[in-house]
Symmetry: C2
Subunit: 351 residues, 2 copies
């Protein structure tokens, strides 16, 4: 298509290498990043900084954050949540990671013919409950129906608008040597909860998803004037993917202490059973914050006042003298391991 | 789910009557409106007026419009457009129908494993071309992949933000007796173009979709100070569904003149062949505007300066003395026909 002025956009997808979309293109690893980068570069405008979680816009005198996510999780219901709660929390959390106060959400449903109305009703009610908990309003929506066998029950896309009430630049570019890396709580529960239901695994202790809205602890940090340098929620690709991306973009070295990273024993056991590394498992209610070392203790004590981040702790530091762009992990047995992006995915359709 | 304060939302879906979602629930008729009303009432906040096309929000000193749409059209490419162009135009047009200047779009893709990368690349490029033409920027996005057989190539959800630069209330409530009903051009082409490809029908003259952005003519009307009372694009359910909804909400009678409604001969023939009424066929680049009779001529001459609405004309009037809430059509042969919502749909998955 051309507009008559010779404007004919091209999307630089890796057609030669990958002629078809693979499940791995949705999995949070290298292939997904390659795909998203090609699409984003087609849309990119010179004026807008490309951000991980959403766009920061200026409209009139306001600074707004704008973000969207699609949700295709299977099963639709799992311990600790469902696709509706996930769709609300996911978009609320993307806004929070932009340092914005989430305000308004849109929702679009793609329903498969034959879906039980009772299921739809539960999902819609769960979305409203999650919106209420997160302090946002769902203000507009759309519904489409596809033929039986052309969908999978319910797909949901949410978009969100938030307001940015500070002028702090937040993102990997703002990360500085000496920053402490704060983690808001234990990792790996969301992905393992989904996997356990899907595989019919029963553990002694039921593993529930960590799915939760994260705006409250983030806004508390910002309102207290903590010099937050970077925020990132730990969704597809888990803690490892989030930190590798930040290290690469910042061009700095992140050194982690494995012993400081909380993983519940039942999650650890499940990971061992499934042959999965919890560092790469998706979370839906966990984030990292990069703050100057001198503010780490104060930031921790603020995070610990919110239930969702009560177990926050320092898990590592940013250094200028280590290998630039790398994340290294000092293991419990004293060795050092380099964390990298996986090429594909461990767990398909976990969000 | 409850937040501990006893807040347990319930979604009042018609479970007894319809235990399962039908294709007709997506078709623009009575069933779709029933479904959407139940979902919207679950989400509804007291402060926000419920609007057809999107939400009007106040953030700081700004008045913004916010809207979303899902797109599941089959086939992905059709004469005059493709799912990508449709996704951009659909959201741009919803913002325009709120009387807003479209600014920013988000896009989320749900891709089926096995989709050709070349197809994806064409759709992405088409979206960027359409965004360029409509004067909006696609600023944020998301991509998910579902297993083969759990999707249908590409589904797209777009959301959009626009700014409302006037303080005119625009909507069915603002419609007044004596208003002229302006139609921006010929109807029925989008739905019939899709149907023709799907059914393998060949006509002497190829029927191309009317898919196009509508913000330019709408903004020209508003900038010229025309007292626009209501705007509505003619998507699912076509001209008939749009006008029936407006008549019902306004509680007024709309009288149409069939001879004034332009339908191209090839569309008329195709409709006769398919047994479809063009008044109910979806359009993706057509709208109606309600303006005071005294401003109708000026409004028409403004619309006619934009290529997309060059063929605009007056097709009817609002009256206070006819049957309230009804749309009647004076046919070419002089009889009068009452237009009503269809219960289901004529053409599934046309957007």
């Amino acid at each position: 298509m051309s507009d008559g002025n010779g404007f004919t956009p091209v999307c630089p997808l890796p057609i030669q290498e990958y002629p078809h979309v693979l499940l791995a293109h949705g999995g949070g690893g290298r292939l997904m990043h390659q795909l998203i980068d090609a699409i984003a570069s087609t849309f990119a405008s010179a004026e807008l900084a490309r951000r991980h979680d959403g766009a920061a816009l200026r409209i009139g005198d306001m600074r707004l954050a704008f973000t969207t996510d699609a949700f295709v999780v299977q099963p639709l219901f799992f311990p600790g949540g469902d696709i509706g709660k996930l769709a609300v929390c996911g978009t609320v959390n993307d806004l929070a990671m932009c340092g914005a106060r989430p305000l308004y959400l849109s929702v679009s449903f793609i329903l498969e013919e034959g879906l039980s109305m009772e299921t739809l009703g539960r999902v819609v009610a769960s979305m409203q409950a999650a919106a209420h908990e997160a302090g946002v309003e769902i203000v507009t929506g759309d519904t489409k129906v596809v033929d039986r066998g052309k969908g999978d029950g319910i797909f949901i896309s949410t978009a969100g608008i938030g307001v940015i009430e500070h002028d702090r630049p937040i993102g990997p570019e703002a990360v500085r040597p000496g920053d402490a890396v704060l983690l808001s709580g234990d990792i790996g529960r969301h992905g393992i909860a989904i996997m356990a239901v899907r595989e019919g695994l029963a553990f002694e202790t039921e593993i529930t998803s960590d799915c939760a809205p994260l705006a409250a602890p983030v806004l508390k940090l910002l309102e207290a004037g903590v010099a937050v340098h970077c925020l990132r929620d730990l969704t597809r690709g888990g803690l490892a993917a989030a930190l590798v991306e930040i290290a690469q973009t910042a061009g700095l070295h992140i050194q982690l202490d494995e012993a400081a990273i909380p993983v519940r024993p039942e999650v650890q056991s499940a990971c061992e059973l499934l042959g999965i590394d919890p560092l790469y498992v998706a979370n839906e209610g966990r984030f990292v914050a990069f703050v100057p070392e001198a503010e780490a203790e104060r930031a921790l004590s603020i995070l610990q006042t919110e239930p969702v981040s009560a177990d926050a702790r320092v898990i590592g530091h940013v250094t200028a003298d280590g290998p630039a762009g790398l994340v290294t992990l000092r293991t419990a047995i004293g060795t050092t391991r380099v964390l990298d992006l996986l090429s594909g995915e461990q767990l398909p359709r976990i969000c």
